[in-house]
């Protein structure tokens, strides 16, 4: 384990510590961090992005994937609602391949406040959100799964977005535009500071335990819910966050074509969002004090269902394949006097000037829908500090569509396979039709590809493990293939398999009942009885020893 005081660890770095140099260090590989990496690159600024785990390991992998029309905020935050509309339009232009413009409905169910329901149309038009009023019968014709007990319904231009694909595309574009790099499993554990300047960030490679230093001219903290921790490492107390854990549950079929929102103030189980062939119901919201070891619970799943069933009764008998959780950072009331400007838009950008730092910025809060704007504002600050006057181009520049970037989109692998008709390109994951060639391209060139890529890393970059078997079968097949390719060469490969199943299990556990449970029973029989992973396998190589890697899997939600 590293020394407990991170500052002492780097104030006098040991002689042979590896040091990387870059213009900007961006901390946090979610949509915001990768968005900043891309934004800077398009201005000609090169960066290194680090994540202590992997891309979208935080909230960006643990959300609904709802590209909000703004309808949800129309009632009490017109500005956020407008912002959602505007950003949604931009994303549809620059990354249409990541978006399913499925549309959405707001519905009020018997027992909901009829006056609130009535005022909804007015709120929408005030925020510039095109909305149509439907009779309950019309709504049920559009979405037959809706309850007979709805009494009001409106259409809104909601859409869904694949947060994994957009993240991969941003990293890829940054690499191509400015040679920027992404380093997975690299955790920032401290900063070396002198005279109001950060001289270097001390990092730990969580696979090997190796310590190294990254020196940059500017440091950006885009660590989402972890932003307070990172700010404190730099001696800044201005970032004050509370944490709200949200849990969602995924059904194994798509229950509705459109996004279905409950027409009332936000609560448990009030949004049902489609993602390819599945639907996601969420979300609960519970204050938590811990960011690690986050896992969905039986109770959270039951609470979502209890509410969701009122909107969509078929949820009562639906089969669920997985639950997952993410943490929303809640910004504590704009603590006047401190340089943090709590923007009305729900995100905050801190320049930390009042705390005496000249090359550190923190951005946190916000939404998936508005991440591009967050990245723009942050990059404006960083660029100006670097004396770079190039304008932001992220709203115009198209995101790239690369071979290794497209495997996270539901249904893509199947279409690809059927169009190629190459029987020798065997399917490794039968639920999601992921062929060998997909694994080949990911291992060769996906952002963050490593020499001995873990199954979990491949799963983040594809649909492997996201179908109805949740990886129980394909995990075995993909591993065999990786051994065949000579990528795995020792029992460490079995360790990766064990890790992958253990991680998937966390999301499966709370939805085990009915038809799902026998499948889990079979999976355990295979993993233990046939594969021997419970007893005979060296618990995963470096990963588990260093802690974080195996502990806290939040998400990989949206689009699953």
């Amino acid at each position: 384990m590293p020394p407990s005081d991170p500052h002492s660890a780097i104030s006098r770095p040991p002689r042979r510590t590896r040091t990387l140099e870059t213009e900007v260090l961006v901390i946090g590989g979610g949509v915001t961090g990768t968005g900043i990496m891309r934004d800077l690159a398009l201005r000609g600024i090169s960066s290194i992005l680090v994540d202590k785990r992997d891309l979208n390991a935080g909230a960006s992998g643990g959300n609904h994937g709802l590209l909000h029309s703004g309808g949800r905020y129309a009632a009490n935050d017109t500005e956020t609602a407008r912002e959602c509309m505007a950003e949604g339009d931009i994303l549809k232009r620059i990354a249409p391949e990541c978006i399913d413009a499925c549309g959405g409905l707001f519905v009020a169910v018997e027992g909901d406040d009829p006056e609130f329901a009535e005022r909804f149309a007015g709120y929408c038009s005030a925020a510039g959100i095109p909305s149509e009023t439907l009779t309950p019968a019309e709504a049920r014709e559009l979405e037959p799964a809706l309850s007979e007990k709805i009494f009001a319904a409106y259409t809104v231009p909601d859409a869904t977005i694949d947060p994994f694909r957009i993240t991969l595309e941003q990293v890829n574009q940054a690499r191509d535009a400015a040679g920027s790099r992404f380093l997975p499993h690299s955790e920032v554990i401290g900063f070396a500071l002198r005279d109001g300047t950060i001289l270097g960030a001390s990092c730990r490679d969580n696979r090997t335990g190796e310590m190294f230093v990254i020196r940059a001219r500017q440091y950006v903290n885009a660590a989402g819910a972890w932003a307070m921790e990172i700010a404190r490492l730099a001696g800044c107390d201005s970032v004050r966050l509370l944490y709200a854990k949200g849990t969602l549950v995924i059904s194994n079929s798509r229950m509705a074509k459109r996004v279905i929102n409950r027409l009332r103030l936000p609560g448990d189980g009030d949004i049902l969002v489609p993602g390819g062939t599945v639907s996601m119901l969420g979300t609960t919201s519970d204050k938590v004090t811990e960011l690690e070891n986050l896992r969905p619970t039986v109770d959270e799943v039951d609470r979502n269902l209890a509410e969701g069933i009122a909107m969509v009764p078929a949820l009562a008998s639906a089969r669920f394949i997985r639950a997952f959780s993410g943490v929303r950072p809640l910004l504590m009331a704009a603590d006047s006097g401190i340089d943090g400007r709590k923007a009305s838009r729900g995100f905050a950008l801190f320049d930390h000037k009042d705390e005496g730092l000249s090359n550190f910025a923190t951005v946190t809060g916000g939404k998936l829908t508005t991440f591009r704007l967050m990245a723009e504002k942050t990059s404006d600050l960083v660029a100006s500090r670097l004396g770079n006057t190039a304008p932001c181009r992220t709203a115009e520049e198209r995101l790239p569509i690369g071979d290794a970037l497209r495997w996270t989109t539901p249904g893509f692998a199947a279409r690809y396979w059927f169009s190629r008709k190459d029987p020798a390109d065997a399917i490794l994951c039968e639920c999601e039709m992921v062929p060998r060639s997909a694994v080949d391209s990911i291992v060769a060139e996906a952002p963050g590809a490593e020499d001995e890529m873990t199954l979990r890393a491949i799963a983040v970059r594809s649909r492997v493990g996201k179908g109805s078997c949740q990886g129980s079968f394909c995990g075995i097949r993909v591993s065999s293939y990786l051994y065949d390719r000579g990528i795995y060469t020792s029992p460490a490969g079995l360790g990766h398999m064990r890790d992958f199943f253990a991680e998937r299990y966390k999301g499966i556990l709370p939805v085990l009942w009915g038809k799902e449970l026998p499948q889990a029973e079979l999976a355990e029989t295979l993993h233990c009885g046939l594969m021997g992973l419970d007893v005979a396998v060296p618990a995963a190589a470096a990963d588990s020893e260093t802690g974080d890697e195996t502990d806290s899997e939040t998400g990989d939600g949206a689009g699953q």
Binding site: D299, S479, S490, W513, G529, D534, A536
Partner: protein
């Protein structure tokens, strides 16, 4: 033309379930001159490795001597089904069952005093008591670290000879690996073990494959054994195996593969064919829909292609397995037994079913849920007394065991079926006498 008729039969002993517990119960009953009526739905029998485990692990540690393990269970977990059965009965169950399977044409090793260390597909091994004759050379080759060539096939997913060799490398460095195209199935498209196995029942295919294996052996250098995924025939594996060894001129062993796999298929097809020849009345691939317990009998209801059937039985053995087989069902609010809603010993709430860590060596509480029985393997009711003198239970449906983690699937199935039959026979005897 449509048939629809109600047919009623009566039997002395009805067996519900066609897993190892159900089939072995029928074998043990036939041994005693009782002709059972067995109704069983398709189940996970076809998924098994083919190994018959007695007891392989306790508390995450491998057991070389399963009998010592059972002695420990008697001291530490006396409610474990295996702990409640005398060694002599367990031995008799294994030797009778392995003997019967061998007599019917699928040879198994004689179950002995010690566990064998048998091969698993990913390059690990596990303790088991009896293995098919087609697999025993693998146990020997591993024990002596003999140079062996492991062969896999183009298009066969989930079994990689290279993986097998890579994971065994440290303890078995003389392993070599090769990939072959299976004759006439070598486009690279997915191939299935069952199809390959049926193809190898034809001599010409064996010759073609053997020639390729000989080529691979020549290239591999010093090789004393050849290992293949389990594909050596479905109906006559012993013959296919011997013939392949003759053609290749080396001892050959099979390695179990992912389901649906050939070793389990062999057992299922063997039982379904050979047991009726020995007198068993078998309704295969049928599900008992309702079971009524009456004062002097039990009535089973099921449907076949010609309509409804009722079977009146003097004794019933419930060998319906767990969740995967449908003997137990897990609802959001609790676990139920599916035929009679018998009381199921289970954790208090759903949140207690599973542990946080998937691979926790202590296993999950839900896997120990199940039916409780008395020492005569009669199912206990809510009052703690037998529900009926004629209702027995055997196999995985029983509580207080974790056959997956403890590697005691066949052990539980065979030993409890043996005891249930013994007690059912005593009951039937009484009624006659």
């Amino acid at each position: 033309m449509e048939f629809s008729q109600n047919r009623s039969y009566s039997t002395r002993l009805a067996v519900i379930g066609s897993g190892l517990a159900g089939f072995s119960a029928s074998i043990f009953a036939l041994d005693r001159g009782i002709i059972p009526y067995q109704i069983g739905n398709t189940g996970p029998l076809a998924y098994t490795t083919g190994y018959f485990d007695l007891l392989g692990y306790l508390d995450g540690a491998a057991l070389a001597d399963p009998w010592a393990g059972i002695a420990r269970l008697r001291a530490e977990a006396p409610e474990h089904p295996l702990a409640r059965i005398a060694d002599t009965a367990i031995r008799a169950a294994f030797s009778r069952f392995c003997g019967a399977v061998t007599e019917m044409g699928l040879s198994y090793t004689v179950s002995g005093g010690k566990n064998l260390n048998a091969l698993l597909p990913a390059g690990l091994s596990k303790p088991t008591l009896s293995v098919p004759a087609t697999m025993i050379s693998g146990v020997e080759a591993l024990a002596a670290r003999e140079p062996a060539l492991i062969v896999d096939f183009l298009g066969l997913p989930g079994f990689s000879a290279r993986e097998f060799a890579a994971n065994f490398k440290a303890m078995w460095p003389t392993l070599k690996f090769a990939r072959l195209g299976f004759p006439e199935m070598e486009t690279g498209a997915e191939v299935y073990p069952e199809v390959m196995a049926r193809a190898l029942e034809v001599p010409a295919h064996r010759e073609a494959l053997a020639e390729r294996i000989r080529g691979a052996v020549r290239e591999a250098g010093e090789v004393a054994f050849v290992g293949l995924p389990a594909i050596l025939g479905v109906h006559a594996p012993d013959r296919v195996h011997k013939d392949m060894e003759r053609l290749v001129s080396l001892p050959i062993f099979e390695i179990p593969t992912m389901p649906p796999a050939v070793p389990g298929l062999r057992l299922r097809e063997l039982f379904e064919q050979a047991l009726p020849e020995r007198g068993l009345v078998l309704a295969p691939h049928r599900k008992v829909e309702r079971l009524e317990l009456r004062g002097d009998s039990a009535i089973l209801h099921f449907t076949d292609n010609f309509g409804e059937v009722t079977v009146k039985a003097e004794a019933v053995i419930l060998a319906t397995g767990r969740f995967l087989s449908g003997g137990l069902a897990a609802e959001r609010d609790g676990i139920r037994e599916t035929l009679l809603d018998l009381p199921v010993e289970q954790p208090e709430t759903r949140a207690d079913w599973y542990r946080e860590d998937y691979f926790d060596p202590r296993g999950h509480a839900i896997n120990r849920a199940g039916l409780l029985v008395d020492d005569a393997f009669r199912v206990l009711g809510r009052d703690g007394r037998p529900v009926s003198p004629r209702l027995f239970a055997a196999g995985a449906v029983l509580a207080r065991q974790d056959w997956v983690r403890q590697r005691c699937g066949a052990g539980i199935a065979l030993a409890t079926a043996f005891r249930a039959v013994e007690e059912a026979a005593a009951l039937l005897q009484e009624r006659v006498g």
